[in-house]
């Protein structure tokens, strides 16, 4: 544990106490009040990634249980547990033993709760009721709209705001000082630019940049950003849009079976690369079509039963969009995207 903590700055500098949480003043006040009273309702934390939801939940656990928090907390992730039945079994097992120490309840932290289907959330609601005497749930979600009303109404809801620029940069500056690296203003600015309010990403980016140089400036940051992202995703997209179906399918299978990225995740990457990072400089009409396509495939994935079929369909449609808008790759013969990690390239001329 301690070794991993030494290795990764995100872990090493994760605030242990609620008061040390970056920003989120309103949340802190509310949670500290629960600590003072010594009791807790079910909680729902929602907000974008990397703003402190997990950190707050873990810090809250520490406030209640002190160093024995581990034995009183069950961490679950809705997207990793295979179905509501697994969650039910684990909660049942966990709730069977009484809490150690003075606190009369144990804590279940359920991450990515908004990824659960509404059927599963109905079941979750019953589980919350069934074990209400001995457990409290903290649900973590990116979007509150993804949580069904009956679950919402059983929770005290806390909204986590995107972290303001100043707070992120200040935090990065502190960390840089502690680990003994120099971070220039434009370097920190560049990290903020590429990660926005996601502190986890920001810290990871800074650590990656620190492997290249002791002085972190704009150039070093942009150098590592290309590396942090997946080249395989670009390879997949470039081949799909360029109409090289089989190459794209090979990349897709590589992503799914070798890298272990799920279909839904892959859609997120695609959306990010094509629409947000604008990696391939598609015309606006093409982006609209891509956006519709991703939404459609995402929807089909919910009902469908085979990710590979759905993603293969996605490739075929991307090829159609690519051909409609005359997508051309700069590499001749459809070679893979450049192996050079430094370039963020717009591949379309």
């Amino acid at each position: 544990m301690s070794e991993l903590k030494e290795l990764l700055w995100v872990e090493r500098f994760r605030p242990v106490r609620l008061v040390d949480l970056v920003d989120q003043e309103g949340v802190k006040v509310g949670l500290l009040e629960f600590v003072r009273r010594g009791d807790l309702p079910h909680l729902l934390f929602y907000g974008p990634p990397g703003v402190g939801k997990t950190t707050a939940a873990l810090a809250l656990a520490r406030e209640f249980y002190g160093e024995s928090w581990r034995s009183n907390v069950l961490e679950l992730n809705a997207s990793d547990e295979r179905g509501i039945d697994v969650i039910r079994e684990k909660v049942k097992e966990f709730a069977r033993t009484v809490a150690t120490g003075p606190v009369p309840f144990k804590l279940v932290i359920l991450d990515e709760a908004d990824n659960m289907t509404s059927d599963a959330q109905q079941a979750l609601r019953r589980i919350m009721e069934m074990y209400a005497a001995s457990t409290r749930f903290i649900l973590l979600a990116n979007y509150i709209s993804g949580i069904i009303e009956p679950v919402q109404s059983r929770c005290a809801i806390f909204r986590f705001n995107p972290l303001p620029r100043e707070a992120v940069i200040e935090r990065l500056r502190q960390i840089a000082k502690e680990v003994g690296i120099q971070a220039s203003e434009d370097g920190l600015e560049a990290i903020w630019e590429t990660t926005q309010g996601d502190l986890r990403k920001a810290i990871n980016t800074m650590q990656a940049a620190a492997t290249i140089s002791k002085v972190i400036d704009k150039e070093t940051v942009y150098k590592v950003v290309g590396r942090v992202e997946f080249k395989v995703i670009d390879e997949f997209l470039e081949n799909a849009l360029g109409g090289r179906f089989e190459d794209s399918r090979r990349a897709m299978r590589n992503i799914m079976y070798t890298y272990g990225i799920s279909g839904v995740e892959l859609l997120k990457y695609i959306q990010e690369e094509l629409l947000i990072n604008d990696r391939f400089k598609l015309p606006i009409d093409a982006k609209v079509e891509v956006s519709e396509l991703i939404a459609d495939i995402d929807n089909r994935l919910v009902f469908g039963s085979d990710e590979e079929i759905q993603l293969t369909a996605l490739i075929a449609k991307l090829a159609a969009i690519g051909s409609k808008y005359g997508f051309k790759t700069t590499q001749e013969g459809g070679a893979k995207p450049s192996e050079k990690p430094t370039t963020r390239k717009g591949t379309r001329k």
Partner: protein, 419 residues
């Protein structure tokens, strides 16, 4: 070029009985039978029975050729009614032969393909036809002991055609290879011969399939033709892709061996191979496959089996009838076994290890797998590039082997090592 399109089993079908390998007893029986007919000493029909691809039809053709007879051929499974059979036989009886044939020979191919119920007394009608016939009638059937053929057996001379020996098939395959100027590993040919189970046609088809899509090596043969099921799926996929109407596309769903889940996988793999030249055909085909998959998801989760017909139509007709469908060659090059199945088998170990390491990382980092893959693994990869001791540190922290850590950090190279 047009020669290439011809199926090899057609191209190299023996024209004369003397070119038919082995089967000496059968040939002798047939020749004796036809001579007796021509001498007016025989009235019975001939029923050749035996497994597929043993040369039954070929030998009847060869017999007609050797004795200068005009052949009237009908496939009993196509011609559904006895009335129609009578019509054809009647024609054979009444029309004078052109081109100076010595006589006539009628062939009812695949007589056991006749559907007793639909053909309203089909078999007994055929028995009557045989009894009245003034021309020799030869028939072929796969299973002579099929109960519905019993009345027929009594009106016929039944000849059993045995499966061909491996060495006979091998001999023919070698001849074809040298005639086609294809370089073939002898091991590969042996394997084709063995896995054909005495079926010459499927052996030749397999050879053509392998030869026209790449080098004829043992590995490629075992991939393409060792399993009968696989071979059948090639045919089914081919039928779907080449269908031009809804009814011909959905016809495969009525095959006795039809397996819709496998077919879905196979079509997903191979539609791209067949339609690679047309973006809109590709896009239509996969759109419909994906819709079929959605129906499947709903059908399975809600147990709504009444969705099945729509699913089957979408996955067959939806793939066959697409915009700008390219013209497909006789042999679609590059058709293959679904990669997904192979990959899942090949990457099983990798995936299990990954799951184990992921589980450790999840608990220690309080993160989901997707966040770890997305936000942490790339960082660790960079850290490890600079300082390889990191791998050891991580392995100890997680209580797993260094190899497992490497696999997570660099899945592609780890997989490469495994092979």
């Amino acid at each position: 070029m047009s020669q290439r399109r011809l199926p090899w089993f057609e191209k190299y079908r023996p024209r004369s009985l003397k070119d038919v390998v082995n089967q000496e007893e059968v040939k002798k029986t047939m020749e004796d039978w036809i001579r007796r007919w021509l001498d007016g000493k025989e009235r019975r029909a001939l029923l050749l029975s035996g497994p597929p691809g043993t040369g039954k039809t070929t030998m009847v053709h060869a017999l007609a050729h050797d004795y200068g007879l005009e052949l009237y051929e009908m496939n009993a499974s196509d011609v559904r009614t006895a009335a129609r059979i009578r019509e054809v036989v009647g024609k054979a009886l009444n029309q004078g032969s052109l081109f100076g044939f010595r006589g006539k020979l009628v062939l009812f191919d695949e007589i056991d393909g006749i559907n007793v119920k639909a053909d309203q007394g089909g078999i007994s009608e055929i028995v009557d036809i045989i009894k009245e016939a003034k021309v020799p009638i030869a028939m072929t059937a796969n299973d002579p002991w099929d109960p519905k053929l019993r009345p027929l057996r009594e009106a016929c001379i039944v000849v059993q055609v045995k499966p061909l020996k491996n060495r006979d098939i091998l001999e023919v395959l070698r001849r074809i290879c040298s005639a086609e100027r294809v370089k073939c590993d002898d091991d590969a040919l042996k394997l084709i011969a063995e896995s054909s189970m005495g079926d010459m046609r499927s052996a030749i088809n397999d050879l053509q399939l392998v030869a026209e899509t790449g080098p004829v090596t043992k590995d490629r043969v075992s991939l393409l033709s060792s399993r009968a099921h696989q071979y059948d799926m090639f045919k089914v996929v081919d039928m779907v892709l080449k269908a031009n109407t809804v009814s011909s596309a959905t016809a495969v769903t009525r095959l006795p061996s039809f397996d819709w889940e496998s077919l879905m996988l196979w079509l997903t793999e191979n539609a791209a191979v067949a339609y690679s030249s047309s973006v809109s055909a590709l896009s239509d085909a996969y759109d419909n496959l994906s819709r079929a998959d959605v129906l499947r998801g709903i059908m399975l989760s809600k147990q709504e089996w009444e969705l099945m017909p729509y699913l089957l139509e979408l996955m067959t007709a939806g793939v066959a009838l697409v915009r700008n469908k390219p013209k497909l060659p006789f042999f679609i090059r590059g058709m293959r076994f679904p990669e997904k199945i192979r990959l899942l088998a090949r990457t099983r170990e990798v995936r299990e290890t990954r799951d184990r390491v992921m589980h450790m990382l999840r608990t220690q980092l309080h993160e989901s797998s997707s966040t770890i893959i997305r936000d942490y693994i790339p960082l660790v990869r960079i850290l490890a590039q600079r300082d390889s001791k990191i791998i050891n540190t991580l392995a100890r922290a997680l209580g797993v082997s260094e190899g497992s850590v490497k696999l997570i950090i660099n899945p592609e190279s780890a997989e490469g090592q495994g092979e």
